[in-house]
């Protein structure tokens, strides 16, 4: 398997919030969705997903509840909270600004200076 890129610090939370903003999901589902959304460019270290969720619970960005899955099994679902949506928005804006700036820098040619 070709090396997948490591996540930039802090990005995992952003991706999780994005995934949860679409629909409440359980942990495994989140991992799958991120793989899928990122086109398998990013590989989420599954082991680090749960600590990240725990941190986000603590910060009040998500909440969790136990639900029954379509296969009739109990699973812990995570739901984005209002605070989480605000955080997602803020982070998205922040990310776009940062990436625009970084892209801009990367495209600079000598002639432009």
């Amino acid at each position: 398997m070709p090396d997948a890129a490591d996540l930039l610090p802090g990005t995992l939370e952003l991706l999780v919030l994005k995934a949860l903003s679409l629909t409440p999901m359980h942990g495994w589902g989140i991992a799958q969705r991120i793989d899928q959304l990122s086109g398998e460019v990013f590989r989420v270290q599954q082991g680090s997903l749960y600590p990240a969720l725990q941190r986000m619970l603590r910060r009040g960005w998500v909440r969790s509840e136990w639900r029954v899955t379509e296969h009739n099994r109990r699973a812990r679902y995570y739901l984005i909270t209002a605070a989480g949506r605000r955080q997602l928005e803020a982070e998205t804006v922040n990310w776009e600004r940062t990436s625009a700036a970084v892209n801009g820098i990367l495209r600079v040619r000598l002639a432009d200076l």
Partner: protein
């Protein structure tokens, strides 16, 4: 809210997390199965992808870490889990450090009670004992004449008192007569000590005047048992040796001794100017005035000594004798201080060895966890967080060890009576606040030292630098150096311990080999003290004389069944020097101003030497014709003769004793074998005078029996009782006296030996652990060597050699330490030098051998490594 829930509902959250992760694994595995992977393989891959359920749980715990209280809880929880996961290491820490902390705390409690703690009197540093002294080695108690002079002339004390104990028959109205210790005291003793009565009053100034009515203060125990309570006892009367005393007061409960001297009743001593300066032997005590130093008091007392000398010159001709003050605590603790300090030093060394041992273990363990910690670091745990993880775990274990140690110390102190030699002030020994504080301090220091090495490893960032992918960190060199240094330190500390124990052991064996100079089998002794009230020094028409009593007592004893012979002496081997007397030889007198020589001085009856089994070597023994009217004669021991008249005969030599310049000289008429009067380690010098020429008031009857001495004791005591039923009498065999004399050095040796054995075991364990760890860690390297043709034996040798490289500097340091510490042990040894080379070499060899033995097992394990497996395994 989530934080609070995290803290409060830890158990439920843990349970939920379990379920959540189980669900994750199931789903992941199902997904893989759908992609055509066999179920078993799918489960394995799922677990691999998640990265270890336990790891994840810990990481989630970390993430939920709720600062700061919850963080602490989390740390503790984590630590507890780490301890549970590694029960071997945990048990080792608790056992090793628990034992060490327990032993150290117990010894501290003893040292604190005996040496450090204050006496239970107000301003105890101002209390002094007062002695007579005429040379640095010769000190004796005060006489009534001395006391009166000091009391009336001193300008440095708030109070001065005199005390003397005696066995007395105590009778109370309607009660059984009972032999009790009575302490005759002047009122000054109680005011100097600053006591307060539990009821009534203490002795007052007038109670010591010759015309005063006889009064006494009784102990709380006597008041309770005899009168039903402290208040009830006041104004009652008691009978002591047939004389009536009014009880004026009761001492507080728990006060069973005054300045270390025990008694049940304290009758007032009435003092009047005596006809002569002696007899001596009473305990003088005083309280220094505020701001007055012991040296000031010494000057004042020296002045008094000078002034009273002319008054008493005829009865006490020693001009060189001085009153000297001595700090009360010092005088109580005396010779016990040195062995106790040695014991304290020994147990501290054991504690340090134990700490070094556990620190090594902790380091080995942290290295084994490099991978895990590096993963944590990569997942965002800060260095501080890692540090706390590592340190908490160790702290928790050491804390448990500290608690275990405290319990152990409490148990050990209960056994202290059986383990330790007889100690002064042993009643003060308790696991009190100071001892507990000490245990806490020892625990904290141990925890810090044990955590230091792992903490340093984290802080230096070595772990962070190492890669997550499982390849070994290359940072081992420095950690190895620390580990080696710790093990070396263990050997360095163990060596002086082991050497000192060996020296004490040899010294003890030497002592056992020492001939006491007498035959202890089939003999017993009875101490007899004749009260002045009923016995006169010389015939006065009324009372019988002391000489008379002794003669009849010896006669009765000889007639008792089983008795071979009976004799009288004022001193008794192996540890009762009686009067140690100073003397001046006419042949080569001491220059003016010099210290006269001293020797144990015994007044003995004619058949003393035969009864004790002391051989006559030259001249003659005392005979019935050596009477008070005859020429003063003396017998000396061989060691005395060899010291003062080397290579010459001593028969016919003359001396004056007791500093007397006007007395007729004493002639030496015989030489006998050496008898040890001042302990078995003492010199065997001794001087004897006929008891008939200087009749004692207190003496020991020595009785040799044909039958076992214990069975002959009863009849002899009955025979003596028929002479004077009021005398308190108790017999003791000479064998028993000798055994008691050996018991203290025996017990010190056993205690120190036990500590040394523990240190040796810990050091061996340390090197064993280190080498085992290295072999495990370098499996691959060793495998490569073997693949390249190294013989298994050579590999084993290499491991042992590496171990020796680590141990050798420790041993060298230990020898150095031993040489430096020698002066600590010097005064405790007999017949062996504190730097005895043979002992040091032997002990070094023992340590080296045990180190080699400890390296053999890891060496053998290394030799069994199969190259192919070892190389493939990584």
């Amino acid at each position: 809210m989530e934080r609070l829930r995290a803290v409060l509902f830890r158990g439920r959250r843990r349970h939920e997390l379990d379920e959540e992760l189980r669900f994750h694994l199931d789903r992941d595995a199902e997904a893989r199965v759908r992609r055509g992977i066999p179920p078993a393989e799918a489960r394995r891959e799922a677990a691999l992808a998640l990265g270890g359920v336990d790891q994840v749980k810990e990481l989630v715990d970390d993430a939920s870490g709720v600062r700061p209280l919850a963080d602490l809880l989390a740390d503790l929880r984590f630590g507890a889990r780490a301890l549970r996961r590694n029960p071997g290491l945990t048990a080792t820490i608790i056992v090793v450090l628990g034992l060490a902390i327990g032993a150290t705390t117990a010894v501290f409690a003893v040292v604190n009670g005996v040496l450090l703690s204050q006496l239970p009197y107000p301003h105890p540093d101002r209390l002094v004992r007062i002695f007579n002294q005429n040379s640095p080695d010769n000190r004796w108690g005060l006489s009534v004449a001395d006391y009166l002079a000091i009391r009336d002339q001193q300008r440095v004390f708030d109070a001065v008192g005199l005390l003397r104990t005696a066995n007395m028959a105590l009778t109370t109205p309607g009660g059984e007569p009972e032999q009790v210790l009575a302490g005759r005291v002047t009122p000054g003793v109680m005011s100097a000590l600053g006591l307060r009565p539990a009821a009534g009053r203490l002795l007052a100034k007038d109670d010591e005047s010759p015309a005063a009515a006889p009064v006494a203060v009784v102990s709380h125990h006597v008041a309770e048992t005899r009168f039903g309570g402290a208040t009830a006892a006041v104004n009652q009367s008691i009978m002591l040796d047939g004389l009536s005393y009014a009880v004026v007061g009761v001492l507080p409960a728990g006060v069973t001794d005054l300045m270390g001297i025990e008694a049940a009743v304290w009758p007032a001593m009435r003092v009047s100017t005596p006809p002569r300066r002696g007899p001596f032997g009473l305990a003088g005590i005083a309280r220094l005035r505020e701001g007055v130093s012991v040296d000031d008091a010494a000057r004042d007392l020296a002045g008094i000594s000078e002034r009273i000398f002319p008054v008493w010159q005829s009865s006490f001709p020693d001009r060189s004798a001085r009153f000297v003050p001595m700090n009360l605590r010092e005088s109580l603790v005396g010779g016990t201080a040195r062995p106790l300090r040695l014991l304290a030093a020994a147990v501290l060394l054991v504690l340090l060895v134990a700490i070094a041992n556990i620190a090594t273990l902790a380091l080995v363990r942290i290295s084994a966890r490099e991978h895990e910690l590096a993963t944590r670091a990569r997942l965002g745990a800060s260095r501080l967080r890692l540090l706390r993880l590592v340190v908490t775990e160790n702290l928790l274990a050491v804390l448990l060890a500290g608690v275990a140690g405290l319990g152990l110390a409490a148990a050990a102190l209960r056994l202290a009576g059986a383990l330790l030699p007889r100690l002064p002030r042993v009643g003060e020994v308790a696991l009190d606040g100071r001892a507990v504080a000490f245990a806490a301090l020892a625990t904290v220091v141990a925890a810090l030292l044990v955590s230091m090495a792992p903490a340093a490893a984290v802080l230096q960032g070595r772990l962070l630098a190492s890669r997550v992918d499982g390849r070994r960190a290359s940072a081992g060199r420095r950690a190895n150096a620390v580990r080696s240094a710790l093990v070396a330190a263990e050997f360095m500390l163990a060596l002086p311990l082991l050497a000192t124990a060996a020296l004490l052991g040899r010294s003890f064996l030497n002592l056992q080999q020492v001939s006491p100079g007498f035959d202890p089998s089939h003999a017993f002794t009875i101490a007899v003290s004749l009260p002045e009230a009923r016995y006169a020094d010389s015939a006065d028409g009324g009372r019988p004389t002391t000489a008379d009593f002794w003669q009849r007592a010896l006669q009765r004893a000889r007639e008792a069944p089983g008795v071979v012979s009976a004799a009288l002496t004022t001193s008794l081997p192996p540890n009762n020097g009686g009067d140690v007397n100073n003397f001046n030889l006419l042949d080569h007198p001491v220059p003016p101003g010099g210290n006269e020589p001293v020797a144990p001085w015994s007044g003995v009856s004619t058949d003393y030497f035969e009864t004790l089994g002391v051989p006559l070597l030259d001249g003659r023994l005392f005979t019935a014709s050596d009477t008070a009217n005859g020429t003063p004669v003396a017998i000396v021991s061989r060691a005395w003769a060899a010291r003062h008249f080397p290579g010459r005969t001593v028969l016919g030599q003359e001396f004056v004793s007791g500093g007397c310049t006007t007395c007729p000289p004493t002639v030496i008429v015989g030489v006998v074998g050496d008898v040890k009067y001042l302990g078995l380690a003492g010199s065997g010098e001794g001087m004897y005078a006929p008891a008939a020429q200087e009749v004692p008031r207190s003496a020991q009857l020595v009785i040799r029996t044909a039958t076992p001495p214990a069975s002959a004791m009863g009849p002899v005591i009955t025979a003596l009782r028929s002479l004077d039923p009021a005398l308190p009498l108790a017999g003791r065999t000479l064998d028993d006296r000798l055994r008691t004399e050996l018991s203290a050095p025996g017990r010190w040796t056993i205690l120190l030996g036990a500590f040394a054995a523990v240190a040796l075991a810990l050091a061996a364990l340390g090197i064993f652990g280190l080498m085992s760890y290295l072999v495990r860690r370098q499996r691959r390297e060793i495998g490569v060597r073997m693949a390249l043709g190294a013989e298994p034996a050579a590999v084993a040798r290499m491991i042992v050699r590496r171990g020796m490289r680590c141990v050798a500097p420790g041993l060298a340091g230990g020898v150095l330490l031993m040489l430096l510490a020698a002066r600590w042990t010097e005064s405790l040894l007999y017949g062996v030098a504190p730097r005895d080379p043979a002992t040091i070499v032997a002990v070094t060899a023992v340590l080296l051998a045990s180190a080699v033995a400890a390296c053999l097992l890891p060496g053998a394990r290394a030799a069994r490594i199969r190259p192919a497996e070892a190389i493939a395994s990584e």
